[in-house]
């Protein structure tokens, strides 16, 4: 199988990358009716698989689960999840031939095997749905030409997909049709009905392409999302300990700091995150972020270039073939860093203190988000995609660090994200070593000691203008506006 993206002419590559549009809610007035009475079979009964299935069934659709014979015989957890929730369960051989729509909700790495096993069982003219397009775009999976191939990707974890549905709402969702596999021209209708079945249409649906989803998703997760937060965690912790700050405090400040800082980001973008700092601290964070952007820009460009050229995925697939040797070595290494091993203090850290004592962390988030966004849009990805894969998802990853620190984050995010994170971290640590020698506890650990909070008016105006006029802020405001316009009436 060859990398699909690389087989396309430049014109087509650009057209696909540039696809991402916010859909008018009026496009969903037919709800799930296109799929009414059709048979939906889900493969994979983990968090996404189970929760999407529950929503689809509650929307009136006929959903069942195909599990491997061994999982059924041994009554494994996946079998329990499906049967205790009252679903019909069967082997792929029993269920797939009857299916009108097969939902592949397994992890990336299993896609090739799953799809190769399932497609021959599918009836003619059926539809295969993904929630992530790696298998199609990077592995170049070719699906039988009579089969329609679509993607429906809720941009939230599975439990949130379910909770929001039960409330009568949904989560933002990205849909796409694989144009090489849309033989009957019904891909979009199926994807829309599927998105409506999960409740996604109530929170906003973006019409994208497999290529735009994969390339932006890969870039986001390996740079700002996992890479920057991981590299930042290690650098900040080590610096604080080197400067005599109690390791328990340093560990807690880092572990929960990302979550607290990015909560501000979630609500009001970079602008609001920076506004949480005092004026002198904001100016300081701004300068640090500007410097970081200059140092790290070549690295972000390299990641984007490798992803676009397919070098990233081919390298990773080599490691898959080599029993994940690099990945596992790296995971072990992460588990043994001083940050990971430090015991957190019991001391309370107030919400504002995470900002005041974490100026460098704020700077890193700003630099990472802006760089990832700039690099993606420069490569032809639309602002909407770039926003979702950088700023929007940063708080979700920060939340996993708050729960489990890095080792667990890496063990539990997708292997694809983890592998990218490994590449980023190994390049970024040495890149920032010189910068870090100039860092002291005023920006990480203790906070600034200034006689008063006065700043120069002109300087503050300029800095605020630069922050607020960044394109990620413009598109962010628009997209968050759609969300809250739907979410909070009155």
């Amino acid at each position: 199988m060859a990398n699909y993206f690389n087989t396309l002419p430049l014109r087509e590559q650009l057209a696909q990358l540039g696809k991402c549009e916010f859909m008018d809610p009026a496009e969903f007035t037919d709800g799930v009716s296109y799929l009414a009475g059709k048979k939906l079979v889900v493969i994979g009964c983990g968090s996404q698989g189970l929760n999407q299935g529950l929503n689809l069934r509650d929307s009136g659709l006929d959903v069942s689960y195909a599990l491997r014979e061994a999982a059924i015989k041994e009554q494994r957890q996946s079998w329990k999840n499906a049967t205790e929730n009252g679903f019909t369960v069967g082997t792929p051989e029993e269920l797939i031939p009857e299916a009108d729509l097969v939902l592949n909700l397994t992890p990336d790495k299993q896609h090739s095997g799953v799809v190769a096993g399932v497609v021959p069982l599918m009836k003619k003219n059926a539809c295969l749905a993904y929630s992530h397009g790696f298998n199609i775009v990077e592995e170049g999976m070719q699906v039988r030409p009579d089969i329609t191939v679509i993607m429906v990707a809720p941009k939230c974890p599975g439990t949130e997909v379910r909770e929001e549905y039960k409330r009568g709402f949904g989560v933002p969702t990205l849909i796409a049709v694989h144009e090489d596999n849309d033989p009957h021209g019904e891909g979009l209708a199926i994807a829309k009905a599927y998105a409506a079945g999960t409740g996604g249409h109530k929170a906003g649906v973006l019409m994208s392409s497999f290529i735009a989803e994969v390339k932006s998703d890969l870039m986001g997760e390996q740079t700002i999302l996992c890479g920057m937060l991981q590299t930042g965690s290690l650098l900040c912790f080590d610096k604080m300990v080197e400067k005599g700050i109690e390791p328990g405090y340093a560990a807690k400040l880092v572990q929960f700091g990302w979550e607290t800082i990015t909560e501000a980001l979630k609500h009001g973008g970079i602008t609001n995150m920076m506004d949480r700092l005092s004026n002198p601290a904001k100016l300081k964070a701004f300068d640090l972020a500007e410097e970081l952007k200059v140092i790290m820009r070549p690295l972000y460009n390299k990641h984007m270039d490798d992803i676009m050229a397919g070098r990233f995925s081919s390298g990773m697939m080599e490691d898959w073939a080599n029993d994940d040797a690099k990945l596992l070595a790296w995971r072990k290494e992460t588990g043994e860093t001083p940050f990971e091993k430090a015991q957190n203090t019991n001391q309370d850290i107030a919400e504002q203190e995470y900002f005041d004592h974490g100026i460098l962390m704020v700077a890193m988030v700003r630099a990472g988000v802006e760089l990832a966004f700039e690099t993606m849009t420069a490569a032809g990805i639309k602002e909407e995609s770039a926003y979702y894969e950088s700023l929007h998802e940063t708080p979700l990853i920060a939340n996993t660090i708050a729960r489990k620190k890095l080792y667990e984050m890496n063990a539990t995010i997708s292997d694809t994200a983890e592998y990218g994170c490994y590449l980023y971290n190994h390049a970024c640590l040495p890149l920032l070593s010189d910068f870090m020698t100039r860092i002291d506890t005023d920006v990480i650990g203790r906070g600034m000691e200034v006689p008063d909070n006065g700043v120069d008016n002109q300087q503050l105006i300029e800095v605020n203008a630069t922050i607020r006029s960044h394109p990620v802020e413009g598109i962010g405001q628009t997209l968050r506006g759609y969300m809250s316009a739907m979410k909070r009436i009155n």
């Binding site: 529950l54 009136g60 957890q77 009252g86 409330r167 709402f169 489990k404 009436i489």
Partner: protein, 475 residues
């Protein structure tokens, strides 16, 4: 760590602030060792805040407070909510992609246990034996309450504070808890927050009556004339009550009067390791009001959720509701449009940022939170409900700033607002004080007397009978 003996607590003219909208004012109160106090008052009067102040919560603005009990064991709706929230955060199913039933009961006991001897006694007493391996999230609300009690008792607190000691417990467990508390009162300082006058245990020696953030009066329970006066004070006349109309033109599609509202045949709910019930038949005709009873864990909530569609096994049972044979292409919203629903689970789930009036309006849309623009008429009806509840001044206040009891009242109004075909009230009075309980019971009676709505009512209190309900089903 052993517990420190309680030497007494003295509030002197204490003003204690909890947030921008609530403070305790000019509290003068002395607790002495050997006394057993019960704090009483209406919802939102500051009962729970006073108990919390004793443990050091809130900010003392003026006056003084000596003898804060830092190591207090707490059993309350809030501590239950905290535990539920903690479990939600611990839920790794998104990052591990494995769906988990929650922390096992035995782990939740071990993590706080300082007295294994006591634990060994309490487990059979609370009938937790069979639940030790069960995940927290699989517990019924009554079972969760028992777990919370056990956790507080085995952590060897300097004082045990129980906010609503009998809330959510079945009739068999109430005397049990009463006895345990009576025994405990001899050795451990005990403070109760009591919502209902008829639930006042006989071993309580003193009552503190709260009103609008102030300690209105204190009474010794052996002082008979003073006690009579207090019960009168807590009595409310509810004769002027009128239920606001439904929204004309906003009604759900008409039902065929020849069909039963609900017909459940040979139903069962089972998990791999646990059968909740089986062979259950239940046919509900329109206008036939029912009371559902059964001990904690007998599956009352599961049964009701089969009707509402919130239990996933409704799809593999023979269930006919509102003209739909379940599992034939109808959506959950087709079902919910006919139902008004109040339960503890709904209350825990209702944690969105929303104001008080919109909570009521959300009942028109069966949503948690409000995601549609309300019509003028809906706004008007919601305003009428606010007047019935006495919340007209608080229409724009955030839901999460209301006390638990007041939140419950709002959720009851939300359930009734559209005059649904079926109103399901799963322990609606959970957490309500005497006055509001009477208000709610009166509202339910009015609803039952009307012709539009059929009521299913779940309650542990035999004395909370409702005029008009004369069909009974027991699990």
């Amino acid at each position: 760590m052993n517990s420190t003996p309680f030497k007494g607590t003295v509030f002197k003219d204490a003003c204690i602030r909890f947030n921008e909208s609530f403070a305790l004012l000019a509290i003068n109160w002395t607790l002495e060792p050997g006394q057993v106090w019960a704090i009483m008052g209406t919802s939102g009067s500051g009962k729970s805040a006073l108990a919390a102040a004793l443990t050091g919560a809130g900010e003392i603005i003026s006056g003084s407070l000596d003898g804060i009990v830092a190591n207090a064991g707490m059993v309350s709706l809030e501590s239950q909510a905290e535990l539920i929230e903690r479990e939600r955060l611990r839920d790794d199913s998104d990052i591990t992609d494995k769906v988990s039933p929650g922390t096992p009961v035995s782990d939740m006991l071990d993590e706080v246990c300082k007295n294994h001897e006591l634990l060994a006694k309490l487990i059979p007493l609370f009938r937790l034996d069979g639940l030790l391996d069960r995940g927290f999230r699989k517990l019924s609300s009554g079972e969760t309450r028992k777990l919370l009690f056990t956790r507080a008792l085995i952590s060897q607190p300097d004082m045990l504070i129980v906010d609503g000691p009998f809330e959510g417990l079945d009739a068999q467990t109430v005397p049990l808890v009463n006895d345990i508390l009576r025994q405990l009162a001899k050795t451990t300082p005990l403070l109760l927050v009591i919502n209902r006058f008829d639930e006042l245990p006989d071993f309580v020696t003193h009552i503190a009556l709260m009103e609008k953030g102030r300690l209105k009066t204190t009474v010794e329970t052996c002082d008979k004339p003073a006690m009579d006066l207090m019960s009168q004070l807590l009595h409310l006349k509810t004769t002027q009550l009128k239920i606001p109309d439904a929204c004309p033109g906003d009604t759900s599609p008409p039902l065929n009067p020849d069909n039963p509202l609900v017909n459940i045949r040979d139903a069962s709910v089972r998990y791999t390791d646990n059968l909740v019930f089986e062979h259950l038949d239940w046919r509900i005709e329109a206008g036939q009001h029912w009371q559902l009873t059964g001990p904690n864990g007998s599956g009352k909530t599961s049964l009701l959720n089969l009707i509402t569609g919130d239990h996933p096994q409704c799809y593999n049972n023979d269930i006919f509701v509102f003209g739909y044979q379940r599992g034939n292409g109808e959506s959950i919203w087709d079902i919910k449009q006919h139902i008004g629903y109040v339960s503890s689970a709904l209350h825990w789930d209702y944690r969105v940022s929303i104001n008080c009036k919109n909570v009521i309006i959300s009942g028109f849309y069966d949503s948690i939170g409000l995601y549609a623009r309300a019509t003028d008429l809906q706004q008007e009806i919601a305003a009428k409900w606010l007047r019935v509840l006495g919340f007209q001044e608080r229409a724009t206040q955030a839901f999460n700033q209301f006390s638990y009891g007041d939140q419950r009242l709002l959720l009851i109004a939300r359930a009734m607002v559209k005059h649904p075909n079926l109103l399901i009230l799963d322990e609606p009075c959970f957490g309500l004080d005497d006055i509001n309980r009477q208000l709610v019971l009166a509202l339910i009676e009015k609803i039952c007397a009307g012709s539009e709505t059929t009521v299913i009512y779940v309650n542990h209190h035999a004395e909370d009978r409702i005029e008009g309900i004369n069909n009974y089903i027991t699990l």
